[in-house]
Each structure stands twice: as C-alpha cells, then as structure tokens.
Assembly symmetry: C2
Homo-oligomer: 225 residues x 2
C-alpha cells in the first residue's frame, strides 16, 4: 500500500507520538462501534464529530500510514478497522506479564478488557514468599521474580507491566530489561529509565481525573451545564 | 482576559473534547517539568518537540482559552502553568469517592498521584459486610454504599470513581447520580449511562497497551529499532 505524505512534512516512524497512537486506538474503538451498527462507510467529518476532533487531524493521522480514504465516499469502516488493528499490532495475541502482585497488579491481571483486545496476561511476579504460588481471582499465577528471565524467554513475553511501589520501580525496570522484554507499561508514580530499544509508557491515572476536574471547573463558572 | 478564536471556528465550551483536556493536562505536566528546571519561557515549537505534537495544535488549544503567547518570546512557563491549573480546575482541592473496595478500588484509593494533584479520596463504598468498616492501606475508610448519598451531601463530593464488576456498574452509576455527584470516572468495562448534567469518563486501560503494541509491531517490521 502506497504511503502518502505531504511534501515537507517527512516524519520518521520513531517520531510517531504516543498521542498519535492513542488517537489511532480511539479511531479504532469508534470504527468498531460503527461496524457493530452495520454502518459501511464514514467520512472524516463524521468521525471528527463523533470524537470532537478536527477532520484534518484525522485525515493526517491516517494518511501517514497509507491512502485509506476514498474521495466522495470516505472510509470503508470494516477495512479501515482491519488496517488499524494491523498498524497497532492488534491483529495478533500479545503476551503480557505484570510485576507486583499487590492490589493494582491483581486488578490488572483480572482486567477483562485486556483479553478481549488480544492481550494475554500469562503471569504475575512478586518477591513476597506468601504471594508466590498463589493466583489472581481469574487464575493468573504469581511467580517468583527470580524466574522472570526464564519465563520471558520461554513464553516470548511482549510487554511487562510495572505495578510496584515507587521505590522499587527502577530496579524492577532493570530486571525487565535484563529479561529482554522490549515494552514496559509503568503504573508506578515517577518515570522509570530504560535503555534505547526498550519502549516505556508511563501511565498517569491523574490525567483522567484532571479531565473531569476541567468539566466541573467550567460548570462552576456557568459555562457548561 | 480576551479569548481569541479564529473566525469561522466558533466552538461552544461544551464541545471542548476530552482529548483536548487531556492534551492540556499533558502540557501542564511538561510545563511543570520545565518550571522545576528553572526554564522561564518556552515556544510552541519547543513544547511541540518535547511532546511530539504539531506546534499549530498547541497554539490552537491554548488560544481557545485566552491569549497566552507573547510574540518573539513564546509562553512564560510559570504563568502558563498557573493558568492551565486554573483552566483544569486543579487550583483547588477536589473530593473523590470510590465505589467498589476490591483490588482496583483499593489500589486507586492508595494511588499516590491523586493526592499530589489535589484529589482527595475521602471514602471507598462497598456492599460486602466483611469489607465495610475496614480501611485501605493508606487509611481510606470503607463505608456502606447505603451511606453514599449522605456522605456526598455532607462532604461535597466532586467525583465518584466506579471500580466494580461490569454487571454492577450501571446500578452503581445510578446511585452516584442519585447522590447528586456530577462527575464519574468509570473503570468498569463497558460504558455507563448517566443523565445530562453528569459527566462520565470511561477509562480504557487497553488503550495504553495498544500504544506499546504499535511500537512492537513497527519494530517487528524493522521500521523502528
């Protein structure tokens, strides 16, 4: 498929930002909804209205990966969904481990959305002897962190999630890197460092509360209901 | 402060999207980092490079709320941070309750980022008799869901977080609405419905994994390291 880019805006794949990939994921969610509603085609303008985004931004995001739109028609919903799943790497099963079998780790291990989207949580890891050997409610086993490297190699683990207290997060990140896992989702507060070639995404749950705070603040000013 | 808008792109405050408010929150996080590094001014271009965003998008997002930039200087870091905190409603303490004292609820009650940003989790609510009367590790009390309305009125609760299984989420949302809480952060899979005047934000943790999946997929294709 030919990749169309505007002259003068050449972008290296490395520079596709997390905000862009999150938008792609949001487009995919919306398209899957349209698909379930048996809607066949959608324009960037309609997508933009659904998502409160600029149509030009949507066209630009999608054009970066190929020529998906058809003039006078828009996008074919099923086809674009399939392409986005492919671009996002969601067309295959991804193997996930979670380090930290506390409340957050256990909650994430049992999070129903992960499996639905093709992410399989194969194990939790911890250092606490009383946790090792147990399982999460849905049956994910808790293993000794000492086994991480061996399990990662045997099971081809794609992504490690850090769900330990802040003071342990950097040393956990180093164990993950040593186990040759190439993608880290960090729920611990504060950023963790990893060498080039390992992608770290720091989750900040306060961003979602801030978005509600905005709504309440505007409401207080009488600007929204 | 005068609000500058492009002619022909008049936007109602209601239509400021969640993606925009999340970008504002990301700008704020970046500006706070610059502020700690004692950097006084920053251009939209430099901000854009930090965040892998389009400078025009940043200028547009900020211009919507007022004329913050100074020609030839850029933005004053401390001043813009303060304005963004105000716009996001983060210049005051917000009172939060969490419904569901399972693993996720307990993890959220003890999440250190919330308090740092001015969100105070004042109580967890549950229906299970063996949980009621207990506390989270950091001391947030678990109360009977039957007390929600009374507590919400007495403590002026701003935001309720839903952390219950999917099959209970809609009835919990209705209890929250009945308690006259106007903002809901829903961690249960599947959207919950609420009447006009109540803002619901559905959190989808799979979006963050999808962003890592994209990186791995591109890497597998040899397009990134």
């Amino acid at each position: 498929m030919p990749v169309k880019r505007r002259p003068g805006t050449r972008v290296e794949p490395e520079s596709v930002s997390e905000l862009t990939t999150e938008r792609l994921s949001v487009y995919l969610r919306c398209l899957e909804g349209l698909d379930r509603a048996r809607i066949k085609t959608v324009s960037s303008r309609t997508l933009a209205e659904h998502l409160h985004l600029n149509p030009a931004q949507i066209r630009k995001d999608l054009a970066y990966f190929g020529e998906f739109g058809v003039r006078g028609v828009g996008y074919y919903v099923t086809e674009l969904s399939r392409h986005l799943r492919q671009i996002l790497g969601l067309d295959r099963r991804l193997s996930v481990v979670i380090v930290g079998a506390g409340n957050l780790g256990m909650a994430l291990a049992d999070y129903p959305g992960f499996r639905r989207e093709g992410f399989e949580v194969i194990a939790l890891f911890d250092t606490a002897p009383h946790k090792i050997g147990g399982t999460s409610r849905s049956g994910v086993p808790v293993l000794d962190i000492a086994e991480l490297k061996e399990v990662a190699a045997r099971e081809h683990v794609d992504i490690a999630v850090i769900a330990v207290p802040a003071d342990a997060s950097q040393s956990v990140a180093e164990s993950i890197v040593a186990a040759e896992i190439r993608a880290i989702l960090n729920f611990s507060p504060g950023a963790v460092r990893a060498p080039d070639g390992v992608k770290v995404k720091n989750m900040d749950l306060t961003v979602s509360l801030a978005s509600l705070s905005f709504y309440l603040a505007q409401g207080t000013n009488g600007q929204t209901r």
